[in-house]
């Protein structure tokens, strides 16, 4: 398989002016992205996550040619993103959840027609893709409404369509489900899952909603303070950070002392000793249940699967302790420095 995205030692520094006295401003260099190496194969679906200010969006902007890297090498579809930006634009699709790419004053239908000419897509291919998106994303009800009057969920469905009409090889999604209600979120996820199943579009997704990642991405890259701190599957992440399944047992009578079970250390005791929580390490569910049943009447038993949010939260906190660089405050806007 060929790699459609190759980044080596990718780095982006910003100058931040900090007030240091009544009139004096101090200039400080802050690395938003600090040596990211990344290879993404064709058709891969990659989740790119990290806490606020970790450098996710900055990385995406460098991969799409919007921002010039301070250092490092990047190739997307074999092209250098900044130097060959307009050529690259024909081959990638981008959705920034917090920004619109549609024309504010025009109805979606006109925006889509205009995009056909901007991206020079043959009429039949354009029509076929639009038809598909209309049925999968339920666009028909608001195709003739100006973009400024669409709800966020409707607009986002429009943005996704706009990003796909030219049949991009790579789709970059920066928080595509941010602020969406449950129904719109499911629609977007379902649509992306179907896109992934077809297998010829590479997808890079940044999000704070880990359910997006669990549904869509086999591979997860976690960044923090501009560095990659995990690159692998979700299962690998659980293994590495020792997240375990938990067995929760509710008992009729609280035992005087919770029993110690081999291969299943006691995590915690709740509800005045009526609820015991064991971590399942090497012991099987049946062994633990049998041992607990010996204590008296079992009211209820449940198994809690490891929660990805917990693992990631632990990961972020750990990185935080190990690092003293402060992340930059974000002000929306663009400027040249």
């Amino acid at each position: 398989m060929t790699d459609v995205i190759v980044a080596e030692g990718l780095r982006k520094e910003f100058t931040v002016r900090v007030r240091a006295g009544r009139l004096r401003r101090e200039k400080r260099r802050v690395a938003a992205v600090d040596g990211v190496d990344l290879r993404v194969a064709r058709g891969e679906m990659l989740g790119y996550i990290g806490p606020n200010g970790a450098g996710k969006s900055t990385t995406l902007k460098m991969l799409t040619g919007v921002l010039m890297p301070s250092a490092g090498e990047v190739r997307v579809c074999g092209l250098r993103p900044v130097a060959e930006r307009t050529r690259l634009a024909l081959r990638i699709g981008v959705v920034f959840g917090q920004r619109s790419q549609l024309w504010w004053d025009l109805p979606l239908r006109d925006s889509f027609a205009l995009l056909r000419h901007v991206y020079r897509v043959p009429a039949d291919a354009h029509a076929a893709r639009l038809r598909r998106c209309r049925s999968l994303l339920d666009l028909d009800a608001f195709l003739d409404v100006p973009v400024r009057q669409l709800s966020l969920g409707q607009r986002m469905r429009g943005e996704l369509t706009a990003a796909l009409l030219h049949g991009p090889e790579v789709l970059f999604l920066d928080e595509p489900t941010i602020g969406l209600d449950v129904v719109s979120r499911q629609a977007v996820r379902g649509f992306l899952a179907e896109l992934g199943r077809a297998g010829d579009t590479t997808l890079v997704l940044t999000t704070h909603d880990l359910a997006d990642i669990e549904r869509l991405c086999a591979r997860l890259v976690v960044v923090d303070h501009g560095r990659v701190v995990h690159d692998g599957s979700i299962a690998e992440l659980h293994r590495r950070y020792g997240s375990r399944r938990l067995l929760v047992a509710d008992l009729e009578t609280a035992p005087a002392r919770p029993p110690a079970l081999p291969g299943a250390p006691l995590e915690r005791v709740e509800a005045d000793g009526h609820r015991l929580v064991y971590a399942l390490e090497s012991a099987g569910v049946a062994d633990v249940v049998a041992a607990l049943a010996g204590l008296g009447a079992l009211r209820d038993v449940s198994i809690v699967e490891p929660d990805i949010e917990d693992v990631v939260a632990r990961l972020y906190r750990r990185e935080d302790q190990g690092c003293s660089i402060t992340s930059t405050a974000k002000v929306p806007g663009a400027s040249a420095s």
Binding site: V66, L106, H117, P122, R132, H166, G167, P332, A334
Partner: protein, 283 residues
């Protein structure tokens, strides 16, 4: 899903034709975007007509009993005023901050993600806007003026085509100037200062407040050759009212075209500089 994601089959039409199709489509969208705001168009139109009366009476008073001032007769002055009231909205001297707003909000990132150079895309959209303005903002004052004043009607055959070229050049040139003023937002974040400077300079030096021919000749030469401002309004209007012989008309339009090339080149240069140092913050 195959049909959505299938890789684009490259079109076989030659590049130039595709480029023109893209340009035309963006121009059409510019036209439609402005056609959306009908009430705004009417409000602007009413203002233009009211100020047309004011300016016309002031200039005719300046001409006085002699009937001529700075080489214009009464009819030429009336034409000058009424066409300039329409042309003002066509070249759009003031009130365009779209690019600056998009730079400030970071939306400009979306412009960079299109397969069209930003200067080209904004220019195409602006030509569509100008086309809309010719129909909705320029025609009415041009038709209202002759109802109340005696106007000069061009008599030379070359004036029509020269005026058309001159208006087109003025639109492109004015777009270029506005693009440069807006692009200061890449460095300054806040363009209000640059915008006020532009508004004052362009109003005075483009010949809107008074015809520049009222000024001493040496100053006229400095303004025409040294700044793009007279080429924005004064030149097309002087061409239309036939103040000078045909040779001078052609020379003025030539100068205008030269300024247009210079300013567009400056736009591309500034855009390239800005992109190299662009910072898009937040999200």
């Amino acid at each position: 899903m195959g049909s959505v994601t299938a890789t684009v089959a490259p079109s076989r039409a030659p590049n130039v034709i595709l480029w023109f199709r893209t340009f035309k489509a963006i121009t059409g969208s510019g036209f439609r975007r402005y056609a959306t705001y009908r009430q705004a168009s009417v409000a602007g139109l009413v203002t233009n007509v009211v100020f047309g009366f004011l300016r016309c009476y002031v200039l005719l008073a300046a001409a006085g009993a002699a009937g001529t001032v700075a080489g214009y007769d009464r009819g030429q002055l009336a034409t000058f005023v009424w066409v300039s009231q329409g042309l003002l909205a066509v070249v759009l001297l003031w009130g365009w901050t779209e690019l600056a707003d998009r730079i400030r909000s970071g939306e400009v990132a979306a412009d960079l993600l299109r397969p069209v150079h930003p200067v080209t895309a904004y220019l195409a959209a602006d030509l569509g806007r100008a086309g809309h303005a010719v129909l909705v903002r320029m025609l009415p004052p041009v038709l209202v003026g002759p109802l109340f004043f005696e106007v000069h009607v061009p008599s030379r055959w070359a004036t029509g085509p020269l005026f058309a070229v001159s208006v087109l050049a003025a639109v492109v040139l004015c777009f270029g100037c506005r693009f440069l003023v807006n692009a200061t937002a890449y460095w300054l974040h806040d363009v209000r200062g640059a915008m006020i400077l532009w508004t004052v300079c362009s109003g005075v030096l483009a010949g809107l407040y008074f015809p520049l021919r009222f000024l001493p000749e040496w100053l006229q030469a400095v303004l025409w050759l040294g700044t793009p401002f007279p080429s924005l309004l004064q030149t097309p209007l002087d061409v239309l009212v036939e103040r000078d012989p045909t040779g001078v008309q052609v020379a003025l339009v030539g100068l205008q075209l030269a300024w247009t090339v210079v300013i567009l080149a400056a736009c591309r240069w500034v855009q390239r500089r800005a992109e190299r140092h662009l910072v898009v913050q937040g999200g």
